[in-house]
Symmetry: C2
Subunit: 366 residues, 2 copies
Amino acid sequence: MTAFTLLATSGSARRGSLRLTHGVVETPQFMPVGTGGTVKALTPRDLRELGAQIILANTYHLWLRPGRETLVALGGLHRFMAWDRPILTDSGGFQVFSLESRRTLDDDGVTFRSHLDGSAHRFTPEGVVAFQEALGVDVAMALDVCVKQPATDEAVEASVRRTTLWARRAAAAWQHGPTALFGIVQGGTDERQRARSVAEITALDFPGYAIGGLSVGETRDEMVRVARSTAALLPADRPRYLMGVGTVRDLIAAIDCGIDMFDCVYPTRAGRHGRAITRGGEFNVRNAAFGRDARPLDPDCACAVCATHSRAYLSHLFRSDELLGLHLLSYHNLAVLAALMHDARAAIAAGRWDEFRDTIVEGVAR
Amino acid sequence: MTAFTLLATSGSARRGSLRLTHGVVETPQFMPVGTGGTVKALTPRDLRELGAQIILANTYHLWLRPGRETLVALGGLHRFMAWDRPILTDSGGFQVFSLESRRTLDDDGVTFRSHLDGSAHRFTPEGVVAFQEALGVDVAMALDVCVKQPATDEAVEASVRRTTLWARRAAAAWQHGPTALFGIVQGGTDERQRARSVAEITALDFPGYAIGGLSVGETRDEMVRVARSTAALLPADRPRYLMGVGTVRDLIAAIDCGIDMFDCVYPTRAGRHGRAITRGGEFNVRNAAFGRDARPLDPDCACAVCATHSRAYLSHLFRSDELLGLHLLSYHNLAVLAALMHDARAAIAAGRWDEFRDTIVEGVAR
């Protein structure tokens, strides 16, 4: 069902194509985050216009609300949210990290106390695969244990051990149907633990691999170092997904590590806070300097927002707490990352990745 | 510049066409409200799709933020908000009512203390016309004195007297350029004061007339009675605009009074509160009954939201406080009113208004 084709490489960057049940994903690809079955403030049509080929949703959040029965009764997650292109769901492993105070962990699984009503929810590797398969998503993620940084050696070792234990059970539970299952590599910032995790997880022969446990408190240099060394150990014929990365310079660095897929709440969250992304950096549209600025958010952006609206109008909307501002800036920010991925794919295909990378990195630093 | 053509009548309902600087408005017409230069949660493209032919903005709010200088520097309100069809701006007279505690009134004008920062802003009939002309809107409204109900005879008399005084000054200040100027009739629920106001305001020969001072605390029966008797006194060859009316049954009643134009925050505000409008009434999508309801919001609605999303999905979005819900329900609610106006126009043109009216009224009551 899932087929990854490596189309080209340029330096250490990869240009690929991932065939999933609901369509083909060109890589490198950034996945907009729709945690609760909606990419915040954007319609499915907006996402199609933005060229999104795959979006991300979250098992923990959908499990709690609206819940499996509702999602199944409504025909699965695609029909529920009216999105007919691929969907990848994270497993709840990130919430092991982000909701540390609301969960208890043991070798068999994790129990969350709902952030909504305090009710208990037991997540096991098998249950989480079954949930994602019931939703009919294109890519399910195996339940993992994401550990925050800085972490003790013991904590990293425990997370690697449990992640492998759970990945084996997830692989055994997986139906090999329309939903693909990706394994997740952990190991914190410890290269030896990363290497061990890669060996144990890739031994299970998943159709794709994620690098988890980064963007969780380590420095940026550590993140890039670990992503690079870990990616180098992953099989070349499978897609590589770096979880939680999404700024312009981090995406460029990660593509340079040979990574193919990314997700992050950053572009939409920044947009809801009035921050406009450009390849050269970000700025807050509320700033007084933009009050009468007739230029588009980003003169180099071809998106519908930049073709239509001025910085002054966006500034007005945010200063007035107008909902339209949240929509327009979320749209623009995703457009910037989509165009960045598009141009990165073209540069890799043309064999001029290093030049493209250096141009972007210089632009960010300027 | 402004030309109103009465195309057909059926019973007391009117089918007309109003030519303005930025386009033609078919009447009866409902004007979505974009107080601060944005119809909340909707893009200009959404509004075009919804068939909106004219939208409303507000002098008081735009005066305070972003202010005249910014709006002029950005090329006027149309360019500022990227809307190329007609715009009508209310004069600030409604804020004489709604911001009673923040204003002082005298024969020369009204001084508001800004609800944003407490700063003082002096509105005179001449200044308000000049502001709206500087913005380049299609229809400016004369500054009036809107009085809340129930009101004493003295308060009603004073509001009629000042409204006429100010209308004369507005008419004298008006440039007769691309911005048309409409007069506003006051008089509370007092038929004699209404008749006096109509006589005094229509003597000034405005290209259109609004009935103000309704939907401000009086009963619905009083509203319809006054709208009917006042409309009957207005010249047949000018458009009639009933300010602040927007529910399905009030719109039908008002069209039946011979009124042509309407505005109300109701459809978008209800939408932001999770209330879906249909011709048969409204319901709150958060209601548990809709949690697994696969039907569209309104099976009789042809809008993009009803073509795409289920009640269950809308219910999920509102229970999860997701921004997309505010957008989708605002869109749908405006679509219902736009379709109602479309069908009303067709019914009047076909000479079967009474039948159409009765069908809608029975549907609402059911």
